[in-house]
């Protein structure tokens, strides 16, 4: 594998057209459903519950007709951090988390308790679940759909002076820039390597490593600012004035089937919250 292919592992902001039920879903319904499922992940602290959640996530992946390996690809760059923090938690967190829990292993400073071991497993599983939900969501939703969805959902809050259109626009632009910036970073890494740059180096010498990144970071910032300015000019020259009185060419055609997804997700959330899981 090439040491420079950054974009390979970034699934955020990519759309994978498979034409599944999830792809055809009204974006508003999909956003609500995603929020409910995320809620279910956030409020389920038990092993058993997370087992159910994993099953739910697999069902979502299947519904979206997305290859599981592809939905999980975003996990690859995060693995070192995950392992690092899991180890920290596991080894040094034992006494402070739940002192009453039985000790499995003890050696000097290091105390591993049953409660902490369970906590570590659950946190890791939760991270994977969140990643699956967000990946499937972005892989099945075009950014324009996402914008219109957010805007439409926030519209009732206009009275409270929530700038729904502008917020939606900010989100869209941020997501749209992720692959663009990754591609440019890849180009710059290669360009500097081509003129003798040794970028990377020892993983543990943070300061020298950060300094070595400057030849990539400085031009990357300049590029981001330049692209931002170009975007402003492009919008101004199209007489963009914000959301007021703006019409869209995209009209949502919602069928009752569309609202099945958020209802099912809400039911799932309620079930997860109220189920008396033994552990």
């Amino acid at each position: 594998m090439s040491e420079f292919e950054l974009l390979r592992n970034i699934t955020i902001g990519q759309y994978l057209p498979t034409g599944s039920y999830l792809h055809r879903l009204d974006p508003r319904a999909k956003i609500l459903a995603a929020i409910f499922v995320t809620g279910a992940v956030s409020f389920t602290p038990t092993l058993f519950g997370n087992g159910c959640l994993i099953a739910g996530c697999l069902a979502i992946v299947w519904l979206g007709r997305i290859p599981l390996s592809y939905a999980l690809r975003g996990l690859i760059p995060a693995v070192p951090f995950l392992v690092f923090f899991a180890m920290l938690q596991l080894l040094f967190f034992g006494r402070s988390y739940d002192p009453a829990s039985p000790v499995i292993f003890e050696w000097g400073w290091i105390v591993v308790t049953e409660a902490v071991a369970r906590l570590v497993v659950i946190s890791a599983v939760r991270f994977v679940e969140l990643l699956i939900v967000t990946s499937v969501f972005t892989l099945s939703t075009r950014t324009t759909e996402l914008t219109h969805g957010i805007e439409s959902l926030l519209r009732p809050f206009r009275r409270l002076r929530v700038p729904s259109h502008e917020l939606a626009l900010v989100v869209t632009i941020a997501i749209r820039f992720v692959p663009t910036l990754a591609l440019q970073a890849e180009r710059l890494l290669k360009a500097q390597a081509s003129r003798g740059g040794r970028i990377g180096g020892s993983r543990w010498r943070f300061v020298s490593r950060a300094r070595q990144m400057l030849p990539v970071l400085v031009p990357l910032f300049a590029f981001a600012l330049k692209r931002g300015e170009e975007l402003i000019v492009a919008m101004e020259s199209r007489a963009y004035t914000g959301g007021e009185g703006r019409t869209t060419y995209m009209q949502f055609q919602t069928s009752p089937l569309d609202w099945l997804a958020p209802v099912a997700a809400l039911a799932f959330l309620v079930a997860m919250l109220s189920a008396p899981f033994p552990f």
Partner: protein, 290 residues
């Protein structure tokens, strides 16, 4: 031109982007070529034909997984290949290289590469001077200029100097004159033409501009869909007119003029590869002294 063997050898090279994902795409399909010392080789082809992917193998930015790439005696497919040696042998200048300039002063930016090599100060200074003079930026006038104050053409030259300062034996240029104003373009083109004589460089030129490659190159490779479709001297390649059109490429403008005249029944000689050549042919036709 019969050196001690070619500097770059590519044999049956395949490249797949986003392998193992639904976006999988074959950029190179069993491509073979070689670059010999002292040559100026042009690589042409439509957008998406694999040119930019191919040149990233020339200095080890990519390592072959299927096929063989040998650069300066190093087999890039081998785990123990000395990539540092390959990168100092082959300098690669990407498209729009001014994006990679990051220092405030021109001299500092050109010195980045040599400094990374850990050379002594005097040697670095000497290399920066030589690189800047070679691309046409007088050292004393430009070394302390702010990079963001340079014109487009000057910035492009500064970026080129940044690679030249590594003293490569082969210089690979991806669309070196694209996006410049006509004046700077013409000047940079002339400079590149002199690189071989001045710096003893072997050049690989990737270009869309047929007039450019016709004028500068000894040999051309025409890429199509990740493989070599046509190869030969510019004269040989541009004679294959029908084949080029099929590949979405047009011969240089002067050659087209000569061809059209011939089609209209004028007894005109030659191929008209460059403007000068075409002008001489037309002058002969009109009976004027060339």
């Amino acid at each position: 031109m019969t050196g001690p063997g070619p500097l770059i050898v590519v044999e049956d090279l395949w490249h797949t982007y986003m392998a193992g994902t639904p976006f999988e795409h074959h950029a190179l399909r069993g491509l073979s070529l070689e670059i010999r010392a002292g040559e100026i080789v042009g690589i042409i082809g439509q957008t998406g034909s694999g040119k930019s992917t191919l040149i990233q193998y020339f200095n080890g930015l990519m390592r072959p997984r299927r096929g063989r790439v040998i650069v300066a005696g190093q087999n890039l497919g081998a785990r123990d290949a000395d990539i540092g040696a390959v990168r100092t042998c082959v300098g690669l200048v990407f498209q729009d290289p001014e994006d990679q300039v990051f220092e405030r002063l021109v001299g500092d930016d050109v010195a980045y590469g040599p400094r990374q090599l850990g050379l002594p100060f005097a040697e670095i200074r000497e290399r920066v001077r030589w690189a800047m003079e070679t691309v046409g930026l007088p050292f004393d006038a430009f070394k302390d200029r702010y990079t963001f104050r340079l014109s487009g053409g000057e910035l492009r030259k500064a970026a080129l100097a940044g690679v030249l300062a590594l003293r490569p034996r082969v210089l690979v240029l991806d669309e070196p004159t694209s996006g410049l104003d006509p004046g700077s373009r013409e000047e940079l083109r002339a400079r590149i033409g002199e690189f071989r004589a001045r710096a003893g460089l072997t050049l690989v030129l990737v270009s869309h501009d047929m007039d450019e490659v016709a004028r500068l190159c000894d040999r051309l490779y025409v890429l199509h869909d990740g493989a070599i479709a046509v190869t030969g001297t510019p004269r040989e390649v541009f004679r294959e007119r029908a084949r080029l059109v099929e590949l979405g490429l047009a011969p240089p403008v002067p050659a087209q003029v000569i061809q059209r005249l011939r089609e209209r029944g004028y007894p005109i000689a030659g191929d008209g590869l460059t403007v000068d050549e075409a002008a001489r042919a037309i002058a002969t036709l009109l009976g004027a002294p060339a």
